[in-house]
Symmetry: C2
Subunit: 323 residues, 2 copies
């Protein structure tokens, strides 16, 4: 049991980050401190049946059931919960409607409406990468950052913009969608989005493998992790692949930072497991292309790992409480 | 004489946009309506003598004198003025200090401090391109835009980001400094900033001339205006130069809009005199490279011309009044 106010009023927040494989859940006190976290498998609805969307959404039933159980364990009443933040892997409009979420087979779902009905708690909904950006900039470091760019290097490249301490969604929900910035007009291969030369064709886990394969490292199946390990062991092809990756990412970030000019660039996602070696190569190329006043940009490795999203969910609830 | 409140309280704002050749000045009522404007030549201090900076700053004496005269003509007392906004052609920090302004030979000047002492009015100071962005997004169109990207295509390429109705300066004063985004890593010529492949090497008045010259249109001295006129008359080299210009600018804007995702992109500066022909070619290439949700981005020609800066100055004062 957690008391979080000298006045004896108990306030709690729930964070739920719905991913393609797992839903990560967290319980926070009213000051936004995480005191319990757990996860459940994400029930998939690959059929994407729009007509019966609500009925098919087993994931929401599972979430409701799991939350009820956890609240009972902690002896928390629903009226002590000031809100629940929900992250979803797709673009969410201002009303919390997700138009199309191929990762989960969802179409045109009003998440706050559905979940509020099932769980009886006020819901705030956002895009998962944006919420991870919010979580990292708020609680990832020894200070909170008001203006931050978060970039997640995983299977693809995602990102989020934090402006004045809040998510900058953008007029079309594309604030921080930097994985689709066109960095090479001469690219011939097509990206998942249908475009050519997207940043994520080079700066993701699949991108760095593609670069390594082009350099001749293609005889066996390799992973991004292998490439960083081989580079550390002195493998020249791996080193060159990482240099090419760093050059494209560093140069693109130099441009991104002339649009938004943040206090910090936070790098997360699977590739960030490579640690300081990753930051070093990106920063080196960034500095090479940066406009002088932005040369000393701060670069940080994301620090909250899989918890970034639920922290962002909690912050979203706290913001909307303040409004 | 202008009354601007039913309560009979008169409130006024002064805007002063200090350019390399002229200072543009404006008098606004308390609602931000411009009712008088004029300009004076900018006294240059090309020596940039830092030690005697204040004493040398004839431009500030000229401004003070001109403003006194205009206020007397309108029968306005200084205590009726809620503030004066000042635009300067260089990066300004949060305290209104300009570190380096090659255009005017200024170094390390605290503009609000100097001007407040001379004129006796509360001063707010900002970068000229940022203030033009603010003015255009606020008063340039039949609606105000909260989130806008303003790009000015002149001798160079400048810009400004408006976020939630305010200038986004950026942590290093480089918000919207999009003219220095590196768009061509293979460029061999050096830009004024010392870098290579900056957007302004292609998308400015000098940039489009360079593109035309490379295509063979270099026998006589031409201007950007000539190139647009020749293209209109069917000149194939001029058409091709404009296509190349539009391709680079449209593609870069497609990337910029994935960072910030504004409601509108506003195009100003000398080249914007080419009118809808300019917008059409930029939009065509933008759409070709845009990420689908941002394809229908609104593009507008700047509408306030040389008044954009003084409008931005007035808005800056109104914002700080509200704070």
């Amino acid at each position: 049991m957690t008391r979080n106010s000298t006045k004896g009023i108990r306030e709690y927040i729930i964070g739920a980050d719905i991913g393609g494989t797992f839903c990560k859940l967290g319980l926070f006190n009213g000051e936004g401190e995480l005191f319990d976290k757990w996860k459940i498998p994400t029930a998939r609805n690959d059929e994407g049946d729009v007509r019966d969307a609500e009925r098919n959404m087993k994931v929401f039933d599972d979430l409701a059931e799991s939350i009820e159980k956890q609240l009972t364990q902690h002896n928390i009443c629903k009226n002590e919960i000031i809100g629940m933040g929900v992250g979803v892997p797709g673009p969410v409009n201002l009303e919390g409607v997700i138009d199309n979420c191929p990762a989960l087979g969802w179409k045109n779902l009003n998440i706050p409406k559905i979940l509020q009905k099932k769980i009886g708690i006020k819901i705030s909904c956002g895009n998962d990468a944006n919420l991870a950006a919010l979580g990292e900039s708020w609680r990832g470091f020894d200070r909170a950052y008001n203006d931050a760019i978060f970039i997640t290097l995983g299977t693809g490249v995602g990102g989020g913009i934090i402006c004045n301490g809040k998510i900058h969604r953008g007029a079309h929900g594309c604030g921080g969608e930097i994985g689709h910035i066109k960095v090479n007009p001469y690219e011939t291969e097509i990206d998942g989005c249908g475009g050519r030369g997207c940043l994520q064709q080079y700066a993701s886990a699949t991108g760095i493998i593609r670069l390594a394969e082009k350099l001749g490292q293609g005889r066996e199946k390799i992973t991004a992790k292998d490439i960083f390990q081989r580079a550390k062991a002195g493998d020249e092809l791996a080193i060159e692949a990482i240099e090419q990756f760093g050059e494209i990412l560093g140069r693109t970030l130099a441009g991104i930072c002339l649009v938004f000019d943040p206090e910090v660039v936070i790098i997360g996602g699977g590739i960030s497991a490579a640690g300081e070696a990753l930051v070093d190569v990106v920063r080196k190329h960034y500095r090479n292309w940066a406009y002088p006043p932005t040369k000393d940009m701060e670069f940080k490795l994301a620090s909250l790992g899989n918890d970034a999203g639920i922290y962002g969910c909690a912050k979203l609830v706290l913001e909307q409480k303040g409004d």
